[in-house]
Symmetry: C2
């Protein structure tokens, strides 16, 4: 790593560790380092950034907290998988009125996911469709066994997003399907049957490369969920 | 703070500091602590979480890195503004081919923002419209002075998102308008004039409470940008 990669970081206003973290990020970006690539050791980084080893250690911790780096004990510091993508990045967990949040998220999904499904129908490969069918079958089996299917449900929606060939869509979708977790508490038998049926309709439409059909099936799928949330809201608002 | 708030955190697989960070988050959520509210001091937190003060210090640093907490020197630890919302949460900066990324983000914006504009036209108050007009005027003045208007441009789009009354939309929009920063490098005179004209058309339609007009004006606004990116991509791909 050339020393010219880094400017001296001591002359700006951010805390030193934050500045060093920014320089390390910049290095990863410029070098196009990928998941699993190893960073120089603490000593070398400290020299090149012109800061103490304590500062480097703090900077690395900041980047681990943001899922940019991962520490493998005894082996060193590496670029993390899904670099820079963090869980619940919009702080939904901290928002008051989680039922209203579920409603707001589903409004966004009702706008976005029919479009995602139509793109998926345009671009899906036979391998994509096979994986979607497997996920559908897994969800059905879990529902029939009375087990929690929500994790696989989210995986199906994200897998559909991956069919679009747009790299951002599958990163964005887990953010807005946060509502699946909220919605879990509200589910009932009726919704389960509808979930199985409408999931199949979405995948069938993708399989026959029918963008309008996929979009409409997704819209019906999500609208059913939205209706159920609205009922819950009305129930709550009616209570004294 | 009751000691019963916390389970003992030593019995799971996550690193201790990460477990303690999770417990502190949970506390903020359960107590509905808001921006500016103060946390107990390190000593009290350590006692209640049943961990060392070093672990508490690490946990607080993790939460600062995730914009959940902020440290005010000499005053203590407080809940951060925009709790848990972080910059570039999907790691766009780490993705290869930033021109393709700009294209992918604009595809998503072309799906989402016409819908956002139509919702804004349905729900905007006179105060909302006044602020949108101010932002439009600021952007025009910056463009005419030859200065960088992109920060205000993003602010206008986020302000339109706030008119929707959906609390998630204005949190989500800054994530996908990341492309504004990328796009800045590609701008030319022609696009600047179009930006001024189409921004005005969007705000005029919101002002006359015309959802279809607002949606269509936004679509035209973003489609102009998309066209310009496509031209840049073709130019690049033609080079040897």
């Amino acid at each position: 790593m050339a020393e010219t990669m880094f400017e001296t970081v001591k002359d700006r206003e951010l805390p030193l560790a934050e500045q060093a973290a920014e320089q390390i990020s910049q290095l990863i970006i410029e070098r196009q380092l990928r998941h699993g690539e190893k960073l120089p050791n603490e000593f070398d980084l400290a020299q090149q950034l012109n800061v103490g080893r304590g500062t480097v250690r703090e900077a690395v911790k900041l980047l681990v907290a943001r899922n940019v780096l991962e520490i493998r004990r005894g082996r060193g510091t590496f670029v993390a998988q899904q670099t820079g993508v963090i869980h619940d990045p919009l702080g939904f967990a901290y928002m008051p009125d989680q039922l209203r949040l579920a409603h707001e998220l589903l409004d966004i999904r009702l706008n976005m996911e029919p479009w995602v499904a139509s793109l998926a129908a345009r671009h899906a490969t036979p391998e994509d469709v096979a994986e979607l069918r497997t996920l559908c079958a897994e969800i059905e089996a879990l529902i029939q066994a009375g087990e929690n299917h929500l994790h696989r449900d989210e995986a199906l929606h994200v897998r559909i997003a991956r069919c679009t060939q747009n790299r951002v869509v599958p990163k964005l979708l887990p953010v807005i399907t946060y509502s699946v977790q909220l919605f879990g508490r509200l589910n009932d038998e009726r919704i389960y049957e509808e979930t199985i049926r409408t999931h199949r309709q979405i995948v069938d439409a993708i399989d026959r490369r029918d963008p309008e059909g996929a979009s409409e099936a997704m819209r019906i799928h999500l609208a059913g969920n939205q209706l159920s949330i609205t009922e819950q809201e009305q129930l709550r608002d009616r209570q004294p």
